[in-house]
Point group: C2
Amino acid sequence: MSKERTSPSYTIPANQSERSFHFGSIVSSIIIRETMPGSPEEFFGLLRNPAITGGIKNAIAVCDENTAPLARNLGIPWLILPAGEKNKNWTSVETILRFAKTGGLGRDGLFIGIGGGVVCDLTAFAASIYMRGAVLALIPTTLVCMADAALGGKTGFDLEEIKNLAGTFYPAGTILIAAETLKTLPGREWKSGMAELIKTAILDQDRTFTLALLDEFSNPALLQNQPAAILPLVKKTLLIKGRIVEEDPWDTKKTRALLNLGHTFGHALESTLGLGTISHGEAVAWGIARSCELGLALGITPPDRAETIFQILKAWGYDLALPEAAGEFMDKGTAGKFRAALFSDKKKNAGKLRFVVPAAFGAVLVEENERVTQFLESFI
Amino acid sequence: MSKERTSPSYTIPANQSERSFHFGSIVSSIIIRETMPGSPEEFFGLLRNPAITGGIKNAIAVCDENTAPLARNLGIPWLILPAGEKNKNWTSVETILRFAKTGGLGRDGLFIGIGGGVVCDLTAFAASIYMRGAVLALIPTTLVCMADAALGGKTGFDLEEIKNLAGTFYPAGTILIAAETLKTLPGREWKSGMAELIKTAILDQDRTFTLALLDEFSNPALLQNQPAAILPLVKKTLLIKGRIVEEDPWDTKKTRALLNLGHTFGHALESTLGLGTISHGEAVAWGIARSCELGLALGITPPDRAETIFQILKAWGYDLALPEAAGEFMDKGTAGKFRAALFSDKKKNAGKLRFVVPAAFGAVLVEENERVTQFLESFI
């Protein structure tokens, strides 16, 4: 009897896989399934987090217009935030905090974010500061959020036109990935997510994942944005990312910085064009291409490796020169703005920019030096 | 030579003592001195935190009208916030974040908060979310902040008339306590700080500190608010609090909850009267008296122990019935408001209120139960 009580008889359903990561003293459990739970009971049954003591009565869901139907199905109070990067601001955070307070949540209350990176980052940030930290579960419904944003604890919102200028580290206790939520994802969003998948594939030390991505060109289901076909790649991506974050959960060593591959250039492009003008993934793919060029200039990226990466990016439809929306970006005299955005990157260390460039295996971190400056000058 | 380089020859001045606490993986160093450093160089020499790589150029000071002269002396950009609890809000946090951004701080930038609980809590919160966590030093200039708020990592601001509804755990790397900053502290603020000192004295397991406080009644310098006389008591308080926080840095066990002695009742009183109507210390002292009564009713607080505590509170001039400003509080039909504030306490656990009551030695945590409810009903 007592044995039963300490280890409840829980069986992982056939169409579901699970994996837990340890970020410092925090455990993040990822549940990957094809379908969303059929009832609130099934959903809360999945959240076997001992910290969630208050149960359904002590939970709120946060969503946007696109994910409202999913939130409604959970049978708890739900809040609809306006969609889009331009609403990733304090006003949205405060709306969530007041909603939680009105709902009577204590600090053992559960915040559930259902949506893409904007909803998940905002909900996670709100949970992280509500009474100095409430319980958090995330249900990412975009590929970029499934493959990247939801795992690893980075939360935040934009301020002063800088992405995530304000934020915290606050890993979700549970992340529920249900492939079926991708069914209605627009093609552009799908493409945006692929950039994070490709980024993580490049970080894979044994290169099999990068090569696997090349293979996937022959997978018509994947190229037609079929949710079930993407699941194995999402799993692999999360495994690589999770291991990196486990080594460096609070981003204080140099390990986690590898995940910024393509992001130093990409974030600066997003800031220059105005947040939300191009998708995060388009910016990251553009940034990966720039990182390859930097790596080639520094003699770190082998030419054949750069070629493989360019091939993958092109196959997925990315414009390696400049994303369409950026257009005549450099001609418009915005180079100064781009330079300013680049140098205000929050990942600077002791005042120096850091770039991640692909190496023969995986990628390496490069600090700003004379040769990097030379490259930047030739490029900007 | 190489030995010298790894252990710099740093001597603690005669009038200075230091102590480091370990909160999880974070080290908080407290420097206690009689005087403020005489120059910016001396000040930055004190901050031998290896994380502060950018030096003076990469630091900002945050103060209020009262502490502006101290901030000005540091030789770095300083920001003056409007003083008072009513400004402990998001607007102030955002002002700090924008000031840091404008000043070009990276996430290795240093935020220095100089002032009482409001300035220190706001600066610490802003530092904790700036680029997901910048470097933090605090210079508390009020007794309540020296003896309590600055140590232990609790940051935050008020929302929905709830004190620190939003906040984080973010211990300062360095806390500089200079007794001379208390010279101009108004008597009421002095009295407010004594409540936190008395609270911590009650938590002292061997009771010597409580008895020492009784002895201090014969210390005219202390009763005349002489800064130098209070230093030994501040040190003792910080040692007791620091040890408690080391055992439970993120407030997840039951240890740290002991520091809430007097606060469950006190916070509810503050909320009922409107934040800032009475001082935090007056509210806490009133709360300690209520906790003694609850402890007596539950048979946990020995009558002679309650008597000693009442004696100390009275000697320091606290009105044990109700603080003056509260006046005819219960007559005004505000009992319902008080009850609502009490039951929205963020320290609730699984929906149940928790109270700390003095025991024969130290204090113990009591969960809401039938007898507690009985006491609350007789009292509200």
